[in-house]
């Protein structure tokens, strides 16, 4: 899968962008603040319907503009796909696939996939359980768009259940109990399905992560990733029942998939606390790469790899390993300055050379 062309209008700092992209490895070069990451973010938006930096839509629309437009031409094994999104901070986003309007986000998902590597990927290993849940759930959506619905259902049921718990103000009347039973049943249904999908994906990732981590560390260490769910042995229904009084008192759901974690170990020890910064960086990289390979394997089409300023954080050995580990993928790399010799580029786009700068447009068609 490749992205052949990207057009942006009023996206973040970019007024007009028109870029033709090479199917190989492209380097986007430019000083910090010129919007290199914004370009990658726009590309990734079309694959996931949200900013990979977690930014709200308002932040994606250029100051003073009413809406931002992101358009891309994608080639999926010879099949051209035109993806268009009009982002509006006030109304609904409008999305079109091959000029057909889609009203549900899940109908955008699956047409185009990206794997993003960013400097803060380290948080995957060092950060809170929420970082790892987001990582595995994003991966599930890449593996199958229907998982987007599952994830949204769990979130919605939790919001409803938590609202009910707050309204109950600690008192379990018959009415509250009867309604709570219903939300529990809904949470059990969706939550157990989500946990099963997470477990299945992690099991499939393990051999891939081990192989990748072997290459990244010269076979020195073994990485494992397993789901930790407090409720796994008793089942979610029993667990919810057990903590019901506690949930009522605290006005929130204290057990379920929203509290689960992915335990990462390096040679049998917790990676979060027992690995060096370098090992943690390799582990995060290995997890992303393993996910990338699993998606390619399962969907039969290799996601476009977006590397946001990652080489500044990696030593030569890991840089070489990273590049060799995504052999068939189209890759777009951003960097502020000099590149490591290990990376061979098929195309270099210098944002400065294209006449771009903060608050201006980029590209052949822009005429800036």
């Amino acid at each position: 899968m490749t992205i052949t062309r990207l057009w942006l209008t009023d996206y973040r700092n970019h007024r007009e962008v028109d870029l033709a992209l090479d199917p190989g490895v492209t380097l986007l070069l430019g000083p910090n603040g010129w919007g290199k990451t914004n370009l990658l973010e726009a590309v990734a938006w079309l694959s996931r319907g949200s900013s990979f930096r977690g930014a709200p839509t308002e932040a994606l629309v250029r100051q003073g503009a009413e809406r931002a437009v992101v358009r891309a031409e994608v080639d999926d094994g010879g099949r051209p796909i035109l993806l268009e999104a009009e982002l509006s901070p006030t109304g609904r986003n409008r999305i079109q696939v091959n000029r057909q309007r889609v009203t549900r986000l899940r109908d955008l998902l699956g047409h185009f996939r990206t794997t993003v590597f960013a400097p803060d990927d380290l948080a995957l290993v060092k950060g809170s359980p929420g970082e790892r849940r987001t990582w595995i759930d994003d991966l599930l959506v890449d593996l199958h768009p229907r998982n987007h619905g599952l994830r949204a259902e769990v979130e919605r049921v939790l919001r409803q259940r938590n609202a009910l718990l707050k309204q109950a103000r600690g008192r379990l009347t018959d009415d509250v109990a009867a309604t709570l039973d219903v939300w529990d049943a809904k949470l059990v249904e969706a939550g157990e399905a989500l946990a099963a999908a997470r477990t299945e994906a992690l099991a499939a990732l393990e051999p891939l992560a081990a192989a990748v981590s072997d290459r990244l560390t010269d076979g020195r260490s073994t990485l494992t990733a397993t789901l930790v769910a407090e409720w796994a042995t008793e089942g979610l229904a029993a667990a919810l029942h057990r903590v019901r009084d506690d949930d009522l008192r605290r006005g929130m759901t204290t057990v379920g998939p929203q509290r689960d974690d992915v335990r990462l170990t390096l040679d049998g020890l917790p990676a979060r606390t027992h690995a060096s910064q370098g090992e943690q960086r390799s582990s995060a990289l290995a997890l992303r790469l393993a996910g990338h390979r699993l998606v390619a394997e399962r969907t039969g089409s290799t996601p476009v790899v977006l590397l946001d300023d990652v080489f500044s954080e990696l030593d030569r050995e890991r840089t070489r390993a990273l590049v060799s580990l995504v052999p068939d993928a189209q890759v777009v790399v951003t960097a502020a300055s000099v590149l490591p010799d290990e990376v061979r580029f098929d195309a270099v786009m210098d944002l400065a050379g294209l006449g771009a700068g903060p608050g201006t447009g980029v590209g052949a068609g822009a005429g800036t």
Binding site: T90, G91, R104, R156, R161, A163, A178, V182, K186
Partner: protein
């Protein structure tokens, strides 16, 4: 921020479901630009609706008399009751031509986020009707989204001990949708393929 008269319209529009502050603002300025005949027609239509239309005493569908056209029709089978969220869902099921019973309009779905629990819906009224009208089967046709499903489950559990057959339309309807937008064929098939949940 705006002249009081404009702000008053923005505030009123902002109270409507699905209209946020920005949309309310846009609509208010649009209305301001309309010729007065157009706005007069709109306000007259609203007044007319309020004066003529009410809720059916029996099923809470929209009506122009004490009873809605369905309830007023004695050929309808009183022993089968189709429970829907809103009057517009009655229209959707009627369009299929597959249903010959009566309706019960709940007035929404259970949604704690919006402060709606069973007490805010016409659940007590539903229970009262079961005896009064000799209902033998209840078809739950709430929307195929999370709140609609939760409402159906709540009602199924509530009706289970009463010995009434409870079925639910399910198959073929897109998840996350509204009954209103399901096409006639799909909804007709869904009615035929309803699943038994309790009782009977």
């Amino acid at each position: 921020m705006y002249a009081d008269a404009v702000q008053a319209v923005i505030d009123e529009l902002g109270r409507l479901p699905g209209i946020g502050p920005k949309s309310a603002q846009r609509l208010a300025f649009h209305l301001m630009k309309l010729p007065s005949e157009d706005t007069a027609r709109l306000t007259a239509a609203i007044d007319e609706m309020k004066a003529r239309v009410r809720f059916c005493d029996r099923c809470f569908n929209v009506a122009e008399a004490e009873l809605c056209p369905v309830c007023a029709d004695d050929r309808r089978d009183a022993s089968v009751l189709c429970v829907v969220e809103e009057p517009r869902d009655v229209v959707a099921v009627e369009r299929t031509g597959e249903f010959g019973g009566r309706y019960h309009v709940l007035g929404g779905a259970i949604s704690p986020i919006e402060g709606i629990g069973p007490d805010q819906l016409r659940v007590r009224e539903l229970l009262a009707r079961l005896d009064d009208e000799g209902v033998a089967e209840v078809i739950l046709a709430t929307n195929p989204n999370i709140e609609g499903e939760a409402t159906a489950m709540y009602l199924a559990r509530l009706l289970d001990p009463l010995g009434i057959e409870v079925t639910k339309i399910a198959s073929g309807l897109p998840v996350g949708g509204d009954l209103e937008y399901a096409d006639e064929l799909t909804l007709g098939r869904a009615l035929e393929g309803r699943r038994k949940l309790a009782g009977g």
